[in-house]
Symmetry: C2
Subunit: 243 residues, 2 copies
């Protein structure tokens, strides 16, 4: 972050967009940036993002760590490629009918699926994003396309997109935080602490007693989408509020 490698921003772009001229001399490359990224994704899926090291990825291919640098400028760019790889399957809103709410819902669900399949995505995109690859832009395009029939202005569409994309991230984080036993442990440990300090957190204590933190049958994505899209619909119905 503070390092501000910045290397060559353009190199990163060329890589993400696959815009680099193939060399003609020299030995045939045994790898591709895409294969490397795919291997890194596998590691991250299985063992978490921290387990992805140049060394580990390289060993998977039976080459030395430095070999990867022939294909990828550095780890940051590799991570960008991982994101791009995981977003390969860009949704098409037109397959989800013409109702903007259904289209947005479909987009959000697809996005949530990706996050569920690749939990590290959340942490990766939480840090500074340098640039977007074609697939990332594709998802953005799809979201805006989903919103197009709504009758919102361009600026409003953008604002709503931010809201919905944020909701997906929120839900993904919720999912990641509360895996089974972790939740168990949290409840017991925090419960114990709360008992000892009930007076400091009166509302929370009451809320827990009232079951606010019990397992919730309602899908948080559905709940969030319903509230947000209801709010947007209200905005559409009330032109007075629209700047």
């Amino acid at each position: 972050m503070a390092k501000e490698k910045a290397r060559d921003l353009r190199a990163g772009i060329a890589l993400l967009w696959g815009e680099q001229d193939q060399p003609t001399r020299g030995p045939k490359p045994s790898l591709t940036p895409q294969r490397i990224a795919a291997a890194a994704v596998e590691i991250a899926d299985a063992e978490g993002l921290d387990a992805v090291s140049m060394n580990k990825v390289a060993v998977g291919f039976g080459v030395s760590a430095m070999a990867l640098y022939r294909y990828v400028p550095g780890k940051a760019e590799l991570v960008e490629l991982m994101v791009e790889s995981v977003l390969a399957d860009v949704p098409d809103p037109s397959t989800a009918g013409t109702d903007w709410r259904e289209r947005v819902t479909a987009w959000a669900r697809r996005s949530a699926e990706v996050h569920r399949a690749h939990p590290w995505l959340l942490a990766v995109t939480a840090m500074r994003r340098q640039l977007m690859g074609p697939n990332q832009l594709g998802w953005l395009d799809a979201a805006l396309a989903a919103l197009e029939p709504s009758g919102l202005t361009a600026a409003e569409q953008h604002r709503v997109f931010v809201l919905v994309a944020g909701l997906v991230r929120t839900v993904a984080q919720q999912d990641a935080d509360f895996d089974e036993q972790h939740s168990q442990e949290w409840n017991s440990l925090t419960g114990e602490l709360l008992d000892r300090h009930a007076d400091r957190f009166p509302t929370l204590t009451r809320a827990i007693a009232a079951g606010a933190f019990a397992p919730d049958p309602v899908d948080p994505l559905d709940f969030g989408l319903a509230r947000i899209l209801d709010g947007v619909q209200l905005l559409l119905d009330r032109p007075t509020d629209r700047a």
Copy 2:
């Protein structure tokens, strides 16, 4: 993450809650976990989270890196303390009137302020959260207290809390991504790419032309809160939908 240090979960708790018996023998400690955390926060604020190393923090106190381990079990716990430190000023919803929307809005604004002052907070809390300190629980308590007059059920209050807290994070991320010149560069580079691939991203191209990505005078937090809380109000007005 995959490392799963786990060290001693209880040690972390004791640290966060200040529940450790002071030693009586030996030399007087020259530091405290709190002072260490404060120094780390300063570094993170000034130079980014990556700049926070045990060494750098220690040098600031004129001691060796290992000295810090007398006060803090490890870096993970230090980061937890940093979060706790930054959340020291827990809001009190009762000062924001009795209207639940105003109270929630006040809470969200306060939270957004903290995120703006300490951008690293976003990245830190995006990773696995182990436990919450008293201040973190205080903020949670405050949010639920803000929602209490709404008439929502406990479960609903929790769901809405997640939504609002998520919105704050979304906005914070938006803020972090788009600092001045970064936005400039993004616009020029991405604009160039889009020109070259306009056919692949028709909606996006149109949206940009329509000004969807132009500087927006509307505060994204206000916009998001308005939509979400409108949606929640609608839920309150329509008891049929409430499971």
